[in-house]
């Protein structure tokens, strides 16, 4: 997958799960303030990403630093690259 394909997949998965308009989703969009997510949603966000990309990320320390959609894009792209090179 290219980076753009990964970003597109992330956005469409999150838009479906959290009923968010794709047009409102930019890398600067914040998960808590802009998307209105809370701690329960973050648990489900991890499951959505794990299911969409076939990876285990629940225990990753970097997950806790994520604040924006762009952070998720970077995290997943990096994780995918690590998996591909492993």
């Amino acid at each position: 997958m290219t980076d753009q394909e990964i970003i597109k997949q992330i956005n469409s998965s999150l838009a479906e799960e959290f009923e968010f308009a794709l047009g409102d989703m930019t890398p600067e969009t914040t998960l808590f303030e802009d998307m209105g997510l809370d701690s329960l949603d973050v648990v489900d966000l991890v499951i959505v990403l794990e299911t969409a990309f076939g990876m285990k990320i629940r225990e990753e320390e970097a997950i806790r630093q994520i604040r924006t959609l762009g952070d998720i894009h970077s995290f997943v792209i990096n994780k995918k690259r690590q998996m591909e090179s492993a």
């Binding site: 959290f18 209105g36 329960l40 949603d41 489900d44 499951i47 794990e50 299911t51």
Partner: protein
């Protein structure tokens, strides 16, 4: 006897006819059936019934995702019905957060659909890794009550009775008693259930589900009828807004009816089969609670689900107390059996019968079973003053319940 007078100032219903009390009454008064063919039931091994009364005309997305994410269909139905009941009663958002208003809403069990989805996934690899954070809120026993409270911002008491078909009668009765002793001023109360094959299957394996009318769903269930062949399961929610008379008068709310008596008892003789004497005791206790004589009751809204044992036992009990002159009917012919919601769906219709001065006959009752001929079945759609109604509900598990409703003003 209630220590304070308790009145009804709001109603909300989600039924197979759609959303709203007007829609419900429109269907009932025109003899409409909410029962439809459910093709998916044919795909279940061992399932003989193919019909159910399913909710139509509801958009769950009216409820914001923040609240809807913890709801299965039963909580969606209950929340929409509560919104309508509160709107009818003119209850403000400030009242929800006052602590004076509580919630008493039950269901038969937590969401069977969510449980099915979880265990289907769990059984693949014995893994919890795909379990959503909101799963528990769908399946906990107080799912409907808590979800309603969250969505409306209720800060008063939460009660979630569970007694299968007696659930919403219990929910209303206990709510009335809570107001009666002064612990709450207002209560949103009733029941909700969502259809799942487990419910139909439960009755089917006991040979108590309707199977002979799969090709003509509108002809079943047939309470009291010679050709009845069992229950048709349904779904929905019926909600009443109960309030102390003082609170209703202080708010200037329009009063729809009064609850004057409630009784419930246990029948330890059988966990499945009703007993006429226990049913009669329950109705007698409710009449005593309301300080009403049998001759003062204008109408009996029967539980009557169209099972042989239930219909006959209830008629025997009714005839012992009321003889054969008090009109009796069941609304299961129109609505099927909405389980935990059935009591308050039917109670809402009873309140409208009190208000409109009309009685609704039993749909599909064409030839009265001779063993049910010992009571006066409602004929046609008689228009007459109706001042006092007794509403019955009886549940698997040996749980009987009856409520007395009075027209207001009397």
């Amino acid at each position: 006897m209630l220590l304070r007078r308790v009145v009804i100032t709001g109603m909300g219903v989600v039924s197979p006819f759609g959303r709203g009390i007007e829609t419900l009454m429109g269907g009932l008064l025109t003899g409409k059936s909410g029962v439809v063919l459910v093709p998916e039931l044919a795909e279940i091994v061992g399932m003989r019934t193919r019909v159910a009364a399913l909710v139509t005309g509801v958009d769950p997305k009216e409820i914001p995702r923040k609240f809807r994410r913890s709801m299965s269909n039963m909580s969606v139905f209950a929340t929409l019905a509560c919104q309508d009941a509160a709107a009818m009663a003119g209850v403000s958002e400030a009242e929800f957060g006052s602590g004076r208003l509580g919630v008493s809403i039950g269901s038969t069990i937590g969401s069977p659909q969510t449980m099915q989805e979880f265990f289907r996934d769990f059984s693949i690899d014995n893994s919890l890794e795909r379990m959503k954070s909101t799963l528990f809120f769908h399946i906990m026993n107080h799912s409907c009550a808590s979800n309603v409270a969250q969505a409306l911002g209720v800060t008063g008491r939460i009660l979630a009775p569970a007694a299968a078909c007696s659930t919403s009668c219990h929910a209303v009765g206990y709510a009335a008693e809570m107001i009666g002793i002064g612990k709450q001023e207002l209560m949103l109360c009733g029941g909700a259930d969502e259809f799942h094959p487990l419910t139909s299957g439960t009755f089917d394996i006991m040979n108590a589900a309707s199977t002979a009318f799969n090709d003509s769903p509108g002809r079943t269930p047939r309470p009291f009828d010679r050709d009845r062949d069992g229950i048709v399961c349904g779904e929905g929610s019926g909600i009443l807004l109960l309030e102390s008379l003082e609170s209703a008068e202080r708010r200037g709310a329009a009063i729809l009816a009064e609850i004057t008596g409630f009784a419930t008892n246990s029948d330890p003789g059988s966990i499945a089969n009703p007993n006429a004497s226990c049913i009669a005791d329950c109705m007698r206790q409710a009449l005593d609670d309301a300080q009403v004589r049998p001759g003062e009751v204008d109408y009996v809204n029967a539980h009557a689900t169209a099972t042989e044992q239930g219909d006959i036992a209830e008629c025997e009990a009714i005839s012992r107390i009321f003889g054969n002159s008090t009109p009796v009917s069941s609304l299961k012919g129109h609505l099927g059996h909405a389980m935990a919601a059935s009591g308050t769906l039917e109670m809402a219709a009873c309140i409208e019968m009190l208000r409109q001065g009309v009685l609704i006959p039993t749909l599909n009752l064409e030839n009265i079973d001779p063993r049910c001929a010992n009571v006066q079945h409602v004929q046609g759609v008689p228009r007459r003053p109706v001042a006092t109604v007794i509403k019955n509900n009886f549940a698997l598990g040996g749980v009987n319940s009856s409520i007395i409703l009075r027209r207001y003003p009397q």
